[in-house]
Amino acid sequence: MTSATRAGLLAAALLATAGCAGARYAVRADHAHHPISFSPALPDADGRTLRLGEELEPLGSFRFSRTPVGILYGATGTTVELSEELDRRVDAARGEGVVNLSLAVSNCATGYFFPLNLLPILPGCQVVEVSGVVVARRRSAPVAFEPPTRTSAASRDGATRPADEGR
């Protein structure tokens, strides 16, 4: 085997092992107007921790997906900005925040098209499935529930949150 042949085989091997279509991206929610948590807990204005099923009640769940695309074998970066969509989901449910946020990340099909995925210009992609639960504060804590009286009902109504209106 000549050195030129050997170099050619080596180059082919390098190209083959490097030829992996893909994507890379940052997941952000920098402009969200509502608090977003991966856990079932959110802070209130006093710094207390409120939890789903206790001080927080679920108003609905959601699921949507994004597909970031990259070229150059995934070397190019992009950003998946979730703020607008999450705010829209919260506003639609008249909620106050999101808990139990979940991101499920997986590859999508474009990278499987061998030998096209050897080409650096073949777009690679990933699927980001976003799910969560829209919540709002309960009007009274479950364990601190007391029979409604004229006074307590009036004080609760005085503290009614905007999300309650019209429901």
Binding site: S37, S39, A45, G74, S102, Y112
Partner: protein, 202 residues
């Protein structure tokens, strides 16, 4: 020849079916504290930013755990961080909790490349808040091996960075945590009267 072709097609289909489902799931459903993404806002403030907290003291560290699962749709835990490091490849990185309350700089925890689930779990109410600064994910696919593992078609990874925050002097305002409600109670709480409704009405 026909049976050989059938065998090859079956093997290819099985490989694709198993590998295509691989991925990473980031969740913190077992955490007792808020694990916040984006601007740190509080409930009830009409978008008001939550009061800033200092980095947690060492004694107030949140215990963060990461459990990875590997592929072919068999959810078999292969490693847990930060207790152990996987001897396999390090495509998925999770940054542990150094004493200063910032886990971006130390205790890198490496796990295998196949299907994984990242669970951010805080222990009780020891820390008041986890603020995620960055979540970066990526992946590549190829019929040519990109990675080392039982399945060479997928390479999915995520890097998470953030801070653990707590009130000054520990957690004086810590609330005693009630036992968690059963899942069905969490998902579907009993309906309560809303504003404008008469609580005593039948």
């Amino acid at each position: 020849m026909s049976s050989l072709r059938t065998l090859a097609v079956t093997a290819l289909a099985a490989a694709l079916a198993g590998c295509y489902s691989h991925g990473v799931v980031i969740t913190a459903r077992e955490a007792g504290s808020p694990v916040l993404l984006g601007p740190v806002r509080s409930l009830g403030g009409s978008g008001q930013r939550a009061a800033p907290l200092a980095p947690a003291a060492a004694a107030d560290q949140v215990k963060l755990s990461l459990t990875a699962f590997e592929g072919l749709n068999i959810k078999r835990p292969i490693a847990t961080c930060p207790e152990g490091l996987s001897p396999r490849s390090s495509k998925i990185l999770f940054y542990g909790t150094p004493a200063a309350g910032d886990w971006a700089t130390g205790n890198a925890c490496a796990l295998a490349a196949e299907a994984d689930e990242i669970t951010l779990a805080t222990s009780g109410d020891a820390a008041r808040r986890v603020e995620l600064r960055s979540i970066e994910c990526g992946g590549r696919t190829s019929f040519v091996p990109c990675n080392v593992g039982s399945c060479t078609l997928d390479d999915v990874w995520c890097e998470i960075e953030g801070d653990v925050r707590a009130p000054p002097g520990g957690s004086p305002a810590r609330q005693p945590r009630r036992p968690a409600a059963p899942p069905e109670a969490r998902e579907e709480p009993p309906m309560r009267p809303r504003a404008g409704e008469d609580a005593s009405a039948p």
